[in-house]
Symmetry: C2
Subunit: 131 residues, 2 copies
């Protein structure tokens, strides 16, 4: 059975205040201001637990580090190749993707992961000035 823990609550609360999809490390150093003795292990354990419960989402955007998102509604992400920032991306519905993929595939497709990459607004503008 699941027992309440103040650390877990703090982790989830912190995540809900952020929209930049922080990593475990960032969660750790922030929650530490409230729980100076919390350990990285506890942060990882709770992030994994919350993700398994479906209360948060674990994002794997190919940079070798897991990012976490308190917004579990299906939506898309953009990863900046320059600064590494991960942001939400408004996108018209592309659920047609799944059907397109299911086409003549003999197995069972349960979902897909998509993320976009390039230069974020900030880095794109900076590149323009430099060139």
């Amino acid at each position: 059975m699941l027992k309440y823990s103040r650390q877990r609550e703090a982790i989830k609360n912190f995540l809900m205040t952020r929209h930049d999809h922080p990593t475990a490390d960032v969660v750790y150093s922030n929650v530490r201001t409230e729980f100076p003795n919390i350990s990285l292990g506890t942060v990882y354990r709770n992030l994994t637990l919350l993700a398994d419960l479906g209360e948060i989402a674990r994002l794997r955007v190919g940079d070798g580090v897991d990012h976490f998102d308190a917004d579990t509604h299906p939506h898309y992400h953009f990863v900046c190749s320059e600064c590494g920032s991960v942001t939400d991306l408004k996108l018209k519905d592309i659920s047609g993707l799944l059907e397109a993929a299911a086409g003549d595939f003999d197995g069972l497709i349960q979902g897909h992961v998509t993320y976009f990459y390039g230069l974020c607004p900030h880095c794109a503008h900076r590149a323009q000035k430099t060139s």
Copy 2:
């Protein structure tokens, strides 16, 4: 300047014979039959080099291990949640995705990564019999 190396050639040749997107470790143990003294480090260095040159593709499908593909034509992949196999997926053109995403995004979208997950044909059929 880039110098020829028999190890690098063997690594690329091996990759071209495989369509199951092997990991560095699998490349290592196979190339080892031809070069018993090759080291994992050399395999990693060459895979990274070849990927940077665009001669092979590095696939990050969220399982924590990099997979490599000698087929650099843009195409999609399917990852089996059960057995972890990574296979190619025939898919109608979905390049509309990029434009859809570019919509009102203020930065520069250079590409996207998409992979599908679920049960591969083999695991799907096995699940059916069991239930």
